[in-house]
């Protein structure tokens, strides 16, 4: 209580300092929430890519594009020594024109030939209804983030690219890519996909031969990354062959740099706030020189004086941290609730980020208070008492 009273002795100054810290923490919370969300997406991707080799068209960028590839490749791929299973996958954007640039993953259609059943460990659980099955022509299972956009409910119908589909299930929220994915059978997806291709491309393709990637599951005990070269050599140059290491190199490392940048910017904002605490506390110590002299005259030790001023600085840090967290949480939940950044949620405010932000600003307060408190504790009682 006394510490609180001392901090708010100069109300405007205290409030301005606290707001300064709060802005830093707000930046840390909001930017950190983006980083946490992206991290989760990448973790999901890492888990997905961990056990497989993926073949895409050689002209696609880095193996994540959506250029058509012949499903026939599967037959050759499955003959390769060390490959136990191959499965055809077809992915394309859910909407034909992506109006909004999404920071997360854009809404996608995902289809497989179900040959991956029993091999694919990365299965999205179902929250309502049931999972999509091989014979579910004209049916879909919808990712959690798309329920609202598609107005989906189990047993109802949704419209995708001008066609109606019955919803058999809604997936559990994973906070990663499957949340913005609609799963349908390969045949349904091929019917839609062929229409999206330019005529010159489409007329050379058979609809049942359409795929965007072939997923290979190596035999147990074999390193997928080691299989990448084997598969590439067998299939020739016209394909892009990618293993888990490729994904890490392409996505994980750039994301790490992005995360460092995000946190650096937020930390700079906080350090500026920390400097304002030092400024506030230094002024406070200088204004209260006489008070420090009185306290020492009546028996305060250096330690007691230091503790008092550090506690005041720490309280400024803590209040700034809590205010910043409140503002940050409001921004993050507000932005997630709106469709400002597309349908998938861009921000993820994790408990560790929330606690970490407040703890960081508290520690910052303590550190910022150290020098002014040390200076206060070193004042000679006689000189401090003479101070007017």
């Amino acid at each position: 209580m006394r510490t609180l009273r001392n901090v708010f002795r100069r109300k405007t100054r205290a409030v301005l300092t606290i707001v300064g810290i709060a802005i830093g923490v707000l930046a840390l919370v909001v930017m950190g929430s983006v980083a946490e969300k992206l991290q989760l997406l990448v973790d999901g991707g890492t888990a997905y890519y961990a056990d497989k080799v993926i073949i895409t068209d050689g002209s696609t960028f880095a193996g994540f594009g959506m250029s058509p590839i012949s499903a026939d490749v599967l037959v050759d791929a499955e003959k390769i020594d060390g490959i136990e299973r191959a499965s055809v996958t077809l992915n394309f954007l859910l909407d034909d024109d992506v109006q909004m640039m999404s920071m997360g993953t854009p809404p996608m259609v995902d289809a497989t030939d179900f040959r991956d059943e029993g091999y694919e460990d990365f299965v999205t659980p179902v929250a309502e209804g049931r999972a999509l099955e091989a014979m579910d022509a004209g049916k879909v299972a919808v990712g959690a983030d798309l329920v609202q956009q598609l107005d989906a409910e189990v047993g109802g119908t949704v419209e995708i690219r001008g066609r109606s589909f019955e919803v058999v299930g809604i997936h559990e929220r994973t906070l990663s890519a499957p949340d913005s994915t609609v799963r349908m059978t390969l045949a349904d997806a091929q019917d839609i996909f062929i229409e999206t291709l330019p005529d010159s491309v489409a007329e050379n393709l058979e609809v049942e031969d359409l795929a965007t990637s072939i997923v290979l599951f190596p035999e147990e005990g074999l390193d997928p990354d080691a299989m990448v070269d084997v598969v590439a050599e067998e299939l020739g140059d016209s394909y892009n062959v990618q293993g888990p290491a490729g994904f890490e190199q392409l996505v994980k490392e750039p994301l790490q740099i992005f995360n460092y940048l995000i946190y650096t910017v937020a930390l700079i904002a906080l350090i500026v706030g920390g400097l304002s605490i030092i400024n506030t506390m230094t002024m406070s110590v200088s204004e209260r020189t006489r008070e420090i002299g009185i306290r020492k005259a009546i028996g305060a030790t250096r330690g007691a004086v230091m503790r008092q001023f550090i506690a005041e600085a720490a309280l400024i840090g803590l209040l700034g941290g809590l205010l910043g967290l409140a503002l940050g949480a409001a921004s993050v939940f507000g932005a997630n609730g709106s469709d400002l950044y597309g349908t998938s949620e861009l921000f993820l405010l994790t408990p560790r980020l929330a606690l970490g932000s407040v703890a960081f600003s508290l520690v910052l307060g303590v550190l910022a208070g150290l020098y002014p408190a040390w200076h206060a504790s070193r004042l000679s009682p006689v000189e401090a008492l003479r101070y007017e």
């Binding site: 006394r2 009273r5 001392n6 002795r9 006489r290 008070e291 002299g293 009185i294 306290r295 020492k296 005259a297 009546i298 028996g299 305060a300 030790t301 250096r302 330690g303 007691a304 000679s380 009682p381 006689v382 008492l385």
Partner: protein
């Protein structure tokens, strides 16, 4: 009787600027017996406040020895010195020196807390003391809401809260009118008589000094005269 305070050949020089010194104490020796009341007198700049600061552990001499009872305090560290100021010396100042943001009760209790008494016990003792000094109705008032005489009573209560062996007062009536001055001096004499607490009083005022058993006259950092007050 044992000495409550002893100074042996104490010097204290202050540096005001480059090559500009003030010799506030130039080899001062003084013994104050337990239970005695001593008035330190002299013109401004004669070193009487410095004498009190050094004797009370607020300042450290450049040379010489300072004893509080049987404890030598001029060579002791900051923590011990703070403990001596807290538990064995009580200070009363001319400008009252109360903390403006704290109530009368909190001001007095704070000294108890610094002595390690705990907040509850300190507050209890502070309440009793203020009650005895006639401020039972003014506990929750801040210094700005109290008269000068009341503020100085709070300061006296604060000085007494840890039952020190020596009470040091630097011009305690300097900011008070004559009625309040007489009141405070009467209070200090009464404490001395009732508890046997040693009293060291720095003053310009002969009337105040006459309440003491002994008078020490200072000039230019020296004690020029130390004599019992004629009774």
């Amino acid at each position: 009787m044992a000495n409550a305070l002893s100074l042996r050949d104490v010097t204290r020089r202050y540096q005001l600027g480059k090559d500009n010194y003030i010799d506030a104490l130039r080899g001062v020796s003084l013994d104050v017996e337990t239970g005695d009341t001593v008035a330190i007198m002299g013109p401004s700049g004669s070193g009487k406040s410095t004498l009190m600061h050094v004797a009370g552990g607020l300042d450290v001499p450049d040379r010489g020895e300072v004893w509080v009872g049987d404890t030598r305090i001029d060579t002791t560290g900051d923590r011990r010195l703070a403990a001596i100021r807290s538990q064995r010396i009580g200070f009363v100042f001319q400008g009252f020196n109360l903390l403006n943001t704290l109530t009368a009760l909190e001001n007095v209790a704070l000294a108890g807390e610094y002595a390690g008494l705990g907040r509850r016990a300190s507050t209890q003792r502070a309440r009793e003391l203020l009650g005895r000094l006639g401020l039972g109705e003014r506990l929750r008032h801040k210094p700005a809401e109290l008269s000068g005489g009341e503020q100085q009573r709070v300061a006296v209560a604060r000085a007494l809260v840890n039952e020190p062996s020596v009470l040091m007062a630097d011009e305690p009536t300097g900011n008070l009118d004559s009625a309040n001055s007489a009141d405070i001096i009467g209070l200090l004499s009464q404490i001395n008589q009732e508890t046997g607490m040693t009293l060291l009083l720095v003053t310009h005022d002969l009337g105040v000094a006459s309440a003491c058993h002994r008078r020490v006259e200072m000039l230019d950092g020296h004690i020029v005269e130390a004599e019992p007050v004629a009774s």
